[in-house]
Symmetry: C2
Subunit: 122 residues, 2 copies
């Protein structure tokens, strides 16, 4: 049983619906998976990175192109690209002095579409 499922120490109340809690407890993904999931969404949860991913959804681009497109410095773009790369959301290839970035995951489009569906409705 995952650690957080036994951690009642910080809880300041008793269970009202025992059956519901134990039922949900059995169905939940393990904590590591949920932590990874939160980490992934945290990467999506920054406007600069969202813009970068939106751009790469359309075309492969180099750091300078992205910087011009978003009106930001190469440095800040590069920092964000590193984070996106660590999350395996983008990949890069070097051609001479220029480093081209592109999407590394086919799920990005789907996740964005679902997010947009939520944002745009009502």
């Amino acid at each position: 049983m995952a650690a957080y499922l036994m951690d009642f120490d910080r809880c300041d109340c008793g269970t009202i619906h025992e059956n519901v809690v134990s039922e949900v407890r059995n169905q939940l993904p393990d904590e590591d998976t949920l932590l990874d999931l939160a980490e992934l969404f945290k990467v999506f949860g920054d406007s600069t990175r969202v813009k970068i991913l939106s751009a790469l959804l359309k075309a492969e681009m180099c750091v300078c192109d992205i910087a011009v497109l978003l009106g930001m410095t190469k440095s800040s773009i590069s920092h964000q690209l590193r984070i996106l790369k660590q999350s395996k959301l983008v990949k890069c290839r070097r051609d001479g002095k220029v480093v081209y970035y592109s999407l590394a995951d086919e799920h990005v489009g789907t996740i964005f579409d679902q997010g947009l569906a939520h944002v745009c409705e009502k």
Copy 2:
């Protein structure tokens, strides 16, 4: 044209691939949409909120139940539920002293599934 598309002030380089940049610029969603999208993913980008949403994906629950399930205080859960409610991801109903929370959006499941697909592969 959106403001960020004209904001070259902070950019410290010239465009290398003008055609790519202008093409992508035309295809990008407007900035407000992308900001909303980032805000939405920011809500998903916290482990406590991910756990709460995962739980509510399985069953309607009250604040105490969630607090017991996650081993956290009612206060912290309540704070996070407020954020989830502001984002229209959860809704609540009061029955006497107890407030029951449930998912307000059918997209949550899809977004989670896609996120899990990314996290779990490789």
